[in-house]
């Protein structure tokens, strides 16, 4: 599996092909959302909703050996696409990798301009929640 840095570089080069055209970029993000694995309906609980997102975002994490796998869904296609990017970078990693990850691709692809400030806050909440899961698993593993 490629490193967190490699995958981010991959994403950056994919987005660079789209250039400055905002509409194509949004369509691409929505397409990515469509590729997310199905999220179990039973997990669509209030507990799993991320606070701070304008749209509804559900996120759960499960252990797979010493790695963490994330599952997520949203009621908006664009947000789903954004989560799929985070999952591509952070899912299947160890808690240490997740906690130490520097998510430079977000700035590099100009995410703030693409999604606007309110959604950027939502994205920050998603990352925070993923890191909180990593911290919880790390604490458990070290116990």
């Amino acid at each position: 599996m490629s490193s967190i840095v490699d995958i981010q570089n991959e994403i950056i080069s994919e987005f660079s092909i789209l250039g400055d055209d905002k509409e194509s970029t949004i369509f691409y993000i929505m397409e990515l959302g469509g590729q997310l694995p199905e999220y179990p309906e039973s997990e669509k609980t209030d507990e799993n909703i991320i606070k701070g997102c304008q749209s509804k975002v559900w996120l759960t994490a499960r252990e797979n050996g010493d790695k963490i796998e994330f599952l997520a869904d949203s009621n908006t296609d664009i947000t789903k696409g954004l989560i799929s990017l985070l999952i591509r970078v952070l899912s299947g990693r160890s808690p240490e990798e997740i906690l130490n990850a520097d998510l430079f691709f977000i700035d590099k692809i100009g995410m703030g301009n693409i999604i606007g400030s309110q959604r950027s806050n939502g994205l920050a909440s998603m990352i925070k929640q993923m890191k909180l899961y990593a911290l919880a698993f790390q604490t458990k593993q070290n116990a």
């Binding site: 055209d21 749209s55 296609d77 664009i78």
Partner: protein, 407 residues
Amino acid sequence: MSINIDQIRSLFPVLHQEVHGKPLIYFDNAATTQKPTSVIEALAKYYEHDNSNIHRGAHTLADRATRYFEKSREAVKDFIRAKEEAEIIFTKGTTDGINLVAATFGRKFINKGDEILISTMEHHSNIVPWQMLCEEKEAVLKVIPITDEGEIIWEAFLNLLSEKTKLVSIVHASNALGTINPVKDIIAKAHEVGAKVLVDAAQSTSHLEIDVQDLDCDFLVFSAHKLYGPTGLGVLYGKREILEAMPPYQGGGEMIKEVSFAKTTFNEIPFKFEAGTPNIGDVIAFKKSLDFINELGKKRIKAHEDELLAYATSGLNEIKGFVPVGTAKEKVSVISFNINGMHPFDVGMMLDAKGIAVRTGHHCTQPLMQRFGIEGTVRASFAVYNNKSEIDQLVESVARIAKIKNK
């Protein structure tokens, strides 16, 4: 005589820019309208030439600022055809005006068991202040239901009215649906049971003729920024005898007549409700936006906007997957809609990518969205400077977006 839109557009500098490489199409006018050069220049001129505090100064600048400030009050009085300037109170906006009435009229005249009547299509700012008041006073908030088209159910309104009703607070034109409510009839019926009526005119003042004496409303509130004027400024109109009977709101500055540590006497209306240094520059500049509207005439503005509304409605209705929300017979130039299978945020962002600015979400009318069983809508709202070619682009973009999920 019809309106020369190109000429009008040339008065609004903000419209002449590109967003994401496309010419800006501004369809978020129900949230706030753009400002003509005359308003922007008046604001700059005040700070460059006349900046001074008003009503108390003994010098030329203070005198000038005071005169211009009071000229604006006079212009507002004429604009809504109030009897006298004393009935015009400058506030921070519509929300501030409603809160003022809730905090003063409400505190004095609403008692345990009294009823306040609002409608399902109210903005949060015409719901929450009354909820707070009702909780404090153990009064009851009642809600007039609406039809699927987004119109008030008249019989239900009549059934809810009773001797217990002390206040009806009703929106003139819905920000989320565009529905124009029959406020004159509502006021007449409410008065029959002795209730006072507040009209939330935030969305109607820029489109419809407002005559508070003809309406016979007790209060009317609106914001300057939806009238091509500055933000952070609004008007509360109230009938003299009611304003006089209301206790003051905030203490300090302009609202007092005499203060001693033993006792304070309060100023006359409107100053009784204008504590502290007001938003002088914006009040002065606001007159220019009223001049702009008066020069065009509300009739011509409404005719142009009605044409845009009909044109957009017929174009959008052709699109597979287009679901209008709010189809009242009488509407201001607001189109609220959803696209089957899509979240309004996604639609809004895709329109933004084409340089088209719309509002998405619940429009601060969550109970109304619950009534329709939806999370929100996409809302395109038109102003006098919009034109048909912009609407063509909206229709084309919505059609392209709808195709994603409605093939």
